[in-house]
Amino acid sequence: MSDRSLLSPTGLDVIFGLLGLVAIGSALLVVTTRQIVHAALWLVVSLGAVAGCFLLMTAEFVAWMQVLIYVGAVVVLLLFGLMLTRAPMGRSDDLNTTNWFVGLLVGTSATSVLVVLLADGFRNAMLDVRGAEPTTAAALGESMFRYWVLPFEALSVLLLSALVGAIVLSRAESPVGTEAED
């Protein structure tokens, strides 16, 4: 592990830094924009940039999972939720609470503590991604079904119960507590 300084970046560092800047900038727009639908669309940009970062770190299967599930399914669900709750389409100035500076204080202090801690602890660590094999679906599937079968099965039960719970909650004519009428 050579320890080059951060001031002599490789091309990979530069590309990762640019993708990271895109992710951070669009994430900031998600939490600050005044148009509620734009927040969902900036979330797409941020999650897509994070998927690019996964690709650069040789996590190929997770990157495609990210694109399929987050960009494909989760954002569409969020947009449906915005539609069904009749979210205002134009600018609205009451999207933030009035004590936003407390949130700003907590957010910046949490970020700075984490950044200082991690930058101090892993200052000279290098990711060796040039010679590494990309983690394809085959490689990840083999290790998942060899070492992580029990969490996988527990997760399938969790997904089933979440599905049943969502259906029960969103049945049209049953406010919770009046199950006896049908």
């Binding site: 951060l6 490789t10 560092d13 990762f16 990271g20 992710a23 951070i24 994430a27 900031l28 998600v30 939490v31 509620i36 927040a39 979330l43 941020s46 994070v50 970062c53 770190m57 040789t58 996590a59 997770v62 999972m65 990210q66 599930i69 987050y70 989760v74 669900l77 969020l78 449906f80 939720g81 069904l84 709750t85 979210a87 009451d94 933030n96 609470t97 936003w100 949130g103 957010g107 949490a110 984490l114 991690l118 930058a119 660590a125 290098m126 990711l127 991604v129 590494a132 490689a139 990840l140 290790s143 998942m144 070492y147 992580w148 969490p151 997760l155 997904l159 979440a162 969502a166 909650l169």
Partner: protein, 109 residues
């Protein structure tokens, strides 16, 4: 590639998510901020997995599990938000104050 870069990115996304959860009023925007926090965690999981060169791919498997749990959470969360909207006609979370302690005389509330 430096390990510091993905770690700083993950810390920044996590902090932005904290800010969004604390500041936004719309419940769906809060769900979006939770997604940002989960993504920050996923980046550091994958960075450490690649750094440690783990033969069992613990970090990447956990990242896939986190993505799945996030999908389940969004489904359930949106069902709850829609139920709240049907009963209250509003999903601004600072208006949902029925469960808070009622202010008493002489006590600051």
């Amino acid at each position: 590639m430096h390990l510091v870069l993905p770690l700083v990115l993950s810390a920044a996304l996590f902090g932005i998510g904290i800010f969004g959860v604390l500041v936004r009023r719309n419940a769906i925007l809060i769900l979006m901020s939770v997604e940002l926090m989960l993504n920050g965690v996923n980046i550091s999981l994958i960075a450490f997995d690649v750094w440690l060169d783990d033969a069992t791919h613990a970090g990447q498997s956990l990242a896939v599990f986190v993505i799945t749990i996030a999908a389940a959470e969004i489904g359930l969360g949106l069902a709850i938000v829609l139920l709240v909207y049907r009963t209250r006609r509003s999903i601004a979370i600072d208006e949902l104050v029925d469960l808070r302690e009622q202010p008493q005389a002489g006590v600051r509330g």
